[in-house]
Amino acid sequence: MSTAYDEATEGKVYSVNGADWDQVVAGVRETEEERLVVNMGPQHPSTHGVLRLVLTLDGETVTEARGVIGYLHTGIEKNMEFRTWTQGTTFVTRMDYLSPIFNETAYSMGVEKLLGITDRIPERAQAIRVMMMELNRISSHLVAMGTFGMELGATTPFLFGYRDRELIMDLFEYITGLRMNHAYVRPGGVSVDLPAGAVDKVGEFLKEMPKRIKDIRKLLDANPVYVRRTKDVAYLDLTGCMALGVTGPILRAAGLPWDLRKSQPYCGYETYEFDVATERGCDVYSRYLVRMKEMEESLKIIEQALDRIAGPLKGDPVMIEDKKIGWPAQLALGPDGFGNSPDHIAHIMGTSMEALIHHFKLVTEGFRVPAGQAYASIESPKGELGAHVVSDGGTRPFRVHFREPSFCNLQAFPAMAEGGQVADVIAAVASIDPVMGGVDR
């Protein structure tokens, strides 16, 4: 208790750093005050990073809850204003680090809208984007479900979730070169085509994954402890969702089949067959069911996308064929461990001065984007992820703002938690599935 505080305004203050709760318990016994204000976080394991919750308790009941954010603010939006449009993907991929492909795609779609090239993105690139996004949706939901289980005291779903996520991480590493922070989706298409063998690997994954999802369902779907901790907990109905701008699985668990993939399709989602998962419970359990169902639907989409990538779209380009915009080189990992494209080097150094100039200008200076603003939104695992992209006609973004679903959904946490028990706060936050990298950006 070294920090100075004003007892008159703040009341009696107990600091618990580490483990010594005895002091607090003894103190609370002495005091006559009924109200206890507890700081949960910013470094509490169940706060998904560095979220701080200020809870006013009356016994076990939460009478007031406030979320405090900003502990992971990294200035991504500001930094992007000092890099080229292409370099921007490297920043946005780090926002919501559990769904990097979605961040990149939303941003790229915004830039493409500004450039007016949305219709000219090659179909193969769109199919690869869809496949990668759906893989990413599964991996994000697996983390959501895994940590969810653990926060409610069940460690096995956590181990299962992370074990199964590893399959997707391996695929991502094989395809993009990195497990996270891929910068794979770029304005104009994707950075490189799928490497040899990727289609087979995704095919194997598609065979394995339904079993794994069933395993998690077996653990949680009818688990009496889990159901009692989640049913009718953190209730937020459709009216609440609309007022607070809540989207994603929370909205669909309130019964509204609002999924941008269906209602305002992008990247060719209108050509894929899948169902939108909805539930009517408005509670934590319904949100869990929606996420599980979405993973199963994602597998269907991946299968269809994979058929197209391996079939009719085989050998097609994955970057827009526009010398002024499309990134020139298609890099492949060489035996020396470096990425290079011998054909491209022979082309620019030996046969085409024009190609050399384009390569040089695009890489050093970047392309120019006509002035104006655009808003592109996609259905990320957490809800509507929107990119508001403003250009002044230059080679750098003038302003990029992300409508982060975690940020908006987290705002609804007091509405879910107030009036409930302290233990339900954990379930409420877990069901929102906030990623603080995305909330704070």
């Binding site: 954010i69 900003g70 603010h73 200035g75 939006e77 500001k78 930094n79 204003e81 000092f82 890099r83 809208k113 500004l114 007016g116 609309m242 007022a243 607070l244 701008g245 809540v246 989207t247 509204l256 609002w258 209602s263 305002q264 200076e365 970047g366 120019r368 006509p370 002035a371 104006g372 603003q373 655009a374 808003y375 939104s377 509507e384 929107g386 508001h388 403003v390 002044d392 006609g393 230059g394 080679t395 750098r396 003038f398 302003r399 703002h401 409508r403 940020f407 908006c408 705002q411 704070d440």
Partner: protein, 231 residues
């Protein structure tokens, strides 16, 4: 045969007065923003002008005409812009709450879902430097619209819309934190991302990015905001 001498004389009064086309202000001269050395690139005479502010005349196309008609608050709208398939309504700031209320409640509009507030700082637009941009979405009609409000840097006040869209609470705090726009009527307008005692508003264009030059093997790489810029 006509020579310059026997051309019929035209009285001055018959030549119509053509006002000189107003050119948008210059955004940039030269190529690399370098002023400390002689121009060897040949781009020294390059003049890039700012794009003019657009205002779209009717018909707007798509469902945009219906939205503007249903709103029927023409005196509250400064200009309508249809660009890249998106409708933007520039709203007078004192009428913002009224417009958003109608946007949400009118059965023909029903923009029930707001996707938040995004600030933009345009230092070159004198008198309307700070913009707040609202993206609205109608689930009933499956439509989108963008509202844009501006305020001068000297008087950075915009009425709060938390009463209409409660979800704007954190968004307005964020925009205040990053741009210094004061949302009048917000229940608790405090900083949200930056620490409470932070000075300045980081997303403004006059706020530096910061960073230090990095030295590597004798060469110095300047921080990102001091590197050569092409735009």
């Amino acid at each position: 045969m006509t020579s310059p001498d026997n051309l019929p004389e035209v009285p001055d009064a018959q030549v119509p007065e053509v006002p000189a086309a107003q050119e948008p202000p210059i955004a940039r001269q030269g190529m690399f923003g370098a002023t400390d050395s002689g121009d060897t690139s040949g781009y020294g005479g390059l003049v890039v002008r700012r794009p003019p502010q657009i205002s779209t005349p009717r018909p707007y196309g798509s469902y945009f005409d219906e939205v503007v008609d249903a709103l029927a608050l023409d005196d509250a709208i400064e200009r309508v812009v249809v660009d890249r398939g998106e409708l933007t309504l520039h709203v007078k700031r004192e009428r913002l709450v009224e417009v958003s209320q109608k946007m949400r409640d009118d059965p023909a509009l029903r923009f029930e879902l707001s996707l938040g507030v995004s600030g933009v700082h345009y230092p070159h637009l004198t008198g309307e430097e700070l913009h707040a941009v609202y993206h609205l979405c109608s689930i009933t009609h499956n439509r989108r619209v963008r509202l844009e409000v501006s305020c001068p840097d000297a008087d950075p006040h915009i009425p709060s819309t938390v009463g209409v869209y409660p979800g704007h609470d954190w968004h307005e705090r964020e925009t205040y934190d990053f741009f210094g726009i004061i949302f009048d009527g917000h229940p608790a307008l405090t900083r949200i991302m930056m620490p409470d005692d932070w000075e300045g508003h980081p997303q403004r264009k006059d706020y530096p990015l910061g960073g230090i030059p990095v030295e590597y093997r004798g060469a110095t790489i300047p921080s990102p905001d001091h590197r050569r810029s092409y735009s």
